[in-house]
């Protein structure tokens, strides 16, 4: 055994601790749930980068009229299909040079554009500035996504809450509807809607929301089922609070994490469908640009002018990747157990 050390006698006085003097203070300061979520989200580097990236895209979209160097729909046929050129910088791919009959020529000189004329991402077959079209296209795609998500929420949230809260026959009936709706492939519903409604922003939003609300409703219902049994909700019920009050005061705040996370997966889905519909020609009508129409235009010419395809493809992919990753990050932040 260890040797008993020499210790001054007065240290052996009883302190007569009070029971309630338990040392809560030794624990780490407890953060509120939301602070905790925020801290976890921002400590996730990937999610933070995605958030910033998306933030920048949203800002550019909001301020598109200011940021875009040209009007996206102004045609200058004489300047059609010009390659990218940034000022007088001599970066391969961005210097306005083009391969013509095996020779590299300055495409801008060929069409007789005055000095100082340049298009950062080049022009399309109608001489429209590609960068401006991409900025406006992104804006349109984001608008579609946000609107679709909102409509999605407007349908899915009450539907899910009612289904989960009422339970019983109401629930069974509502679930049957969901079962049937979800047995039709999303795309088929979307396409049918697009045929019936006139192609355009509103139709796309409606078509997408009509299929996406199902997932939202399902999640909300499941969550509501669980919450319903929670003690504070039971308490509120026995106290006779009205259903609407319970829904807004207790349910929705507790559903917010589910809603936010699901939203982050609805957005890329909506962006995908918009691009898809526009790509096959029943989405956003000409001359307006969306990422889908740009891609479709770009694809037609990409063998000879691959830059027209690359730019929208890249932006679309980045948005999709960033929203997906941010969704993951948010889920981990809200529910730390789901990660590691």
């Amino acid at each position: 055994m260890e040797q008993v050390p020499k210790i001054p006698k007065e240290k052996f006085k009883l302190l007569h601790k009070k029971d309630d003097q338990a040392q809560e203070s030794l624990g780490t300061p407890s953060l509120t749930y939301l602070q905790d979520v925020k801290r976890r989200l921002f400590s996730n580097k990937v999610a933070t980068v995605c958030l910033i990236l998306l933030g920048i895209m949203v800002l550019i979209s909001v301020f598109a009229p200011v940021v875009a160097p040209h009007n996206p729909n102004t045609q200058r046929v004489e300047y059609s299909n010009l390659p990218p050129k940034i000022g007088n910088l001599d970066i391969p791919g961005f210097n306005g040079m083009q391969n013509m009959d095996g020779k590299s020529v300055d495409a801008y000189k060929e069409v007789g554009a005055p000095k100082g004329t340049y298009y950062i991402l080049g022009t399309d077959y109608l001489g429209r500035d590609l960068l401006s079209r991409i900025i406006y296209g992104t804006r349109l795609s984001l608008i579609v996504a946000v609107l679709a998500t909102l409509v999605d929420l407007i349908i899915g949230l009450p539907y899910g809450i009612v289904s989960g809260w009422k339970g019983g026959k109401v629930d069974t009936f509502l679930q049957r509807i969901i079962e049937i709706v979800s047995s039709v492939p999303n795309l088929v519903v979307v396409i049918l809607m697009m045929i019936i409604l006139k192609p355009g922003l509103v139709s796309i939003v409606i078509a997408i929301a009509l299929t996406d609300w199902v997932t939202m409703a399902r999640l909300i219902r499941a969550q509501t089922f669980q919450l319903k049994e929670q003690e504070y909700i039971l308490a509120a019920r026995t106290l006779g609070e009205s259903s609407t009050k319970i829904a807004t005061k207790h349910l929705i705040p507790n559903l917010s994490s589910t809603i936010i996370i699901q939203t982050m997966f609805t957005i890329p889905n909506a962006i995908f469908f918009e691009a898809f519909l526009s790509f096959i020609g029943i989405g956003i009508p000409a001359p307006n640009a969306s990422l889908g129409t740009l891609l479709s235009d770009g694809q037609k010419a990409f063998r000879f002018l691959p830059y027209q395809m690359w730019a929208p493809a890249l932006i679309l992919s980045i948005i999709m990747i960033a929203t997906n990753l941010l969704g993951d990050g948010l889920r981990d932040a809200f529910d730390p157990q789901s990660s590691d």
């Binding site: 210790i7 052996f12 007569h16 601790k17 003097q21 030794l26």
Partner: protein, 349 residues
Amino acid sequence: MEKILDVKNLNVDFSTYNGTVHAIRGVDFHLNSGETLAIVGESGSGKSVTVRTVLQLMAKNSKISKGEILYHDEDLLKKSEKEMDDIRGNKISMIFQDPMTSLDPTMTIGKQVAEPLLIHNKVSKSDALKRAEEVLRLVGIPNPKARMKDYPHQFSGGQRQRIVIAIAIVNYPEILIADEPTTALDVTVQAQIIDLLKELQQKIGTSIIFITHDLGVVAGIADRVAVMYAGKLVEYGNVDEIFYNPQHPYTWGLLDSMPTLDTDDQNRLNSIPGTPPNLLNPPKGDAFAPRNAYAMEIDEEEQPPFFKVSKTHYAATWLLHPDAPKVEPPKSIQERFEKYQEMLGGSVK
């Protein structure tokens, strides 16, 4: 008596998001051949971590910063992964707390019981299954031949724990580590499982480390008891010494909160006020001091060493220091002391 397991100065840390958790802070204990050692302590005191370290079944974020685990005088911590695989389920095996989740839901129980045999011995599959059947009968599964083809969800909780035990003993291990094997079960089933373990110990002569936070269970099964608090042992001794001559205020608290025949079940462990310390920054002095009604100034400054009470009984509390004042333990503990005097008078141990 031969020491088959000797754990020396074990220290285990976990690296977590908030920092390093010092979960085990210098634990010493040993296991004699053929005996049952109970390790008791509140939830989070480090019992599971300690025994998992013996088998090196540790979380990825853990690190053994110091210590030795001598098994037949060989340090298990120095063994390779392959050598440990040969020991696990063969020489030393383990029973886990929750029988509802411990069995592979997609494998028949016959195969699951036969598995350790096939891993560690050169036996044919059919021989292994035959042996598995015998062991299932031994642990009290009725009609084992037919039930071997069933899946875990077709058994009750108690039966599943019997199956888990069958898996653990199928190779007649030298050491059986049971980590709260009865916590998840009904009281009546608990008693059956304890009886089964005792019976098996007799039959196959294994040594048992039995973990629990329920002192009531301990009296029926243990030869010796070690009390753990906040990653350290605070007291250990023979079962009678711990039950009737406890010296550490924490042990007093545990015993005091034990339900006796005339108290209700309601205030078991909870009756020690306060919560265990945060092991991210363990206190400098005695970790129990903040909850200790008998704390002294020295408790907050320095950790107490083990003081010898008898040849087999040690306790880490400054109250045993010659300079410490005499204190009056709770009434129920004093009654225990009296009983202990009677016991000493009655028999010469």
